[in-house]
């Protein structure tokens, strides 16, 4: 199947789900109103209502989401760069890797929902630093673990061959470990992008004056499901956009992986 057909089919599927949602919403809403019950729109908005919300509060959602996405991107950058740095440190000092990796796995299993309030308490409510920190933390662990696995998962025959060629440790990193781990790094980045936005949103949700997390809180307390869903869909679109950008970068830097 051609790439164009794949995209067209995916878009058709999304459109079909939205259409079903709209039809189901209309039917259920009519029945509930006929039975003197609160309309479903009060809890779950229809796609048309969400579209209306973008029209009414579009500038608010966009402005607030910029706060969130900018912090998420900084957190993403910090998390990924620091993970790459640590993966290199582990590569250079295998002893440190043996000692630190189980501890890092332990820290990673700590629920971020519990850790986020602790970070906010430590760095201050509404502080950009705490939001960036939560976002970076979510990106850091999967990237580090994926990259570390890729660095250490090289075919033994290739390593033997490099020894026969008299390659130094640095040359093995340059010619083998680094290029062969690039697809895994991009995969980790694709997983980290939604994580960074979720982290930033969660940070704002727990106590910030701006951002999409704050809009979600307000829409919840003011019973504005349209605003809530509009914000959520913007998060999805932003995540997808980030993944597409990483995919484009991957196709450029790891073009050998995408050959016919």
């Amino acid at each position: 199947m051609s790439k164009f057909k794949q995209i067209a089919l995916s878009l058709f599927l999304v459109f079909f789900v939205i259409l079903c949602w709209q039809v189901a919403e209309n039917v259920i809403n009519t029945n509930r109103l006929a039975n003197n019950e609160t309309g479903l729109e009060a809890f779950i908005p229809s796609p048309i209502t969400i579209l209306h919300t973008y029209g009414e509060s579009g500038s608010l959602i966009i402005t607030q989401s910029m706060y969130t996405f900018s912090k998420a991107m900084i957190g993403f950058g910090v998390g990924v760069v620091f993970a790459i740095f640590m993966a290199f440190v582990f590569l250079l000092f295998p002893f440190l890797r043996k000692v630190a990796l189980p501890i890092l796995f332990g820290v990673n299993s700590f629920p971020i929902v519990g850790l986020a309030p602790a970070i906010i308490l430590a760095f201050g409510q509404g502080s950009s630093f705490s939001i960036i920190f939560i976002s970076a933390l979510i990106c850091y662990f999967p990237t580090l673990i994926t990259l570390d696995t890729a660095f250490n998962n090289i075919d033994k025959d290739i390593l033997d061959l490099m020894r026969v060629m008299n390659a130094s440790r640095w040359q093995i990193v340059r010619y083998i470990r680094l290029p062969q781990s690039l697809p895994y790094l991009f995969l980790a980045m694709k997983l980290a992008i939604p994580g960074s936005i979720i982290g930033a949103t969660m940070g704002e949700w727990l106590g910030a004056r701006n951002g999409i997390g704050q809009i979600i809180t307000i829409s919840l307390y003011q019973l504005k499901p349209g605003l809530l869903y509009a914000s959520l869909f913007l998060i999805i679109v932003a995540s997808l956009l980030g993944i597409i950008i990483v995919e484009i970068l991957e196709r450029y830097f790891v073009k050998w992986k995408h050959l016919n």
Binding site: D157, D160, M165
Partner: protein, 252 residues
Amino acid sequence: MTALISLNKINKGFLVKKKLNPVINNISFDINYNEVISIVGPSGCGKTTVLKIIANLLDVDSGEILFNGKKILKSKINHSIGYVPQNHTLLPNRTVFENITLPLEINGKKDFQKALDLVDLMGLSEYKDHYPSQISGGMKQKVSIARALVLNPDLLLLDEPFASVDEISREKFNLELLRLNKILKRSMILVTHNIEEAVFMSDRILVMSGVNGSIISEVNIPLGDARNPETRSSELFFSTTNIIRKLIKTNE
């Protein structure tokens, strides 16, 4: 005349559950300049281990290896050895030509003329800019052989280089390798499961025992230098392969 490489009373074992499991048992043999030898034997008899010992990828428990009459030191890699592992191990991120030039780059050599010559000699010009994922399994092994030859080694070690290709292609690659070696005049050690391949390619065959990892027999191949596809149909070829087959079967 000194042999290119001499193995004297080599022993090697691996620790399995804290117990030394002997794999190579008191092996001694010489390889002369421009000689092609094959090592055959049942699976797990230690053929690849012998190659890895010669390539200095494994330390021996006892015995010594002399290269040009000089003892090979532990963990000192010998540039005069080219190694072709069982899997092609081409780097997927480098083109065919970049894979061939890798040993030159690693050893700080900037002149890639030798690589270009090999590409021409081995009929790889058409695929020079292809990536490994774009060429066939047999072609990958050819690239792997070119890469092993690019540093001009005296000895080429080949570990079942054509195990993954079909019988017809294997015979074609055997012929090509012989043709190449007539030009380059290198010594080669070929590890193979295929008795016909061993007989066709070699001047001498070492038969390893499947019981205790020793060499049970050395058989000189009386086929002469002029080998061609018809050689495989000759009576001498059949009788030699039968001798080797019997030797392996009686020591499985």
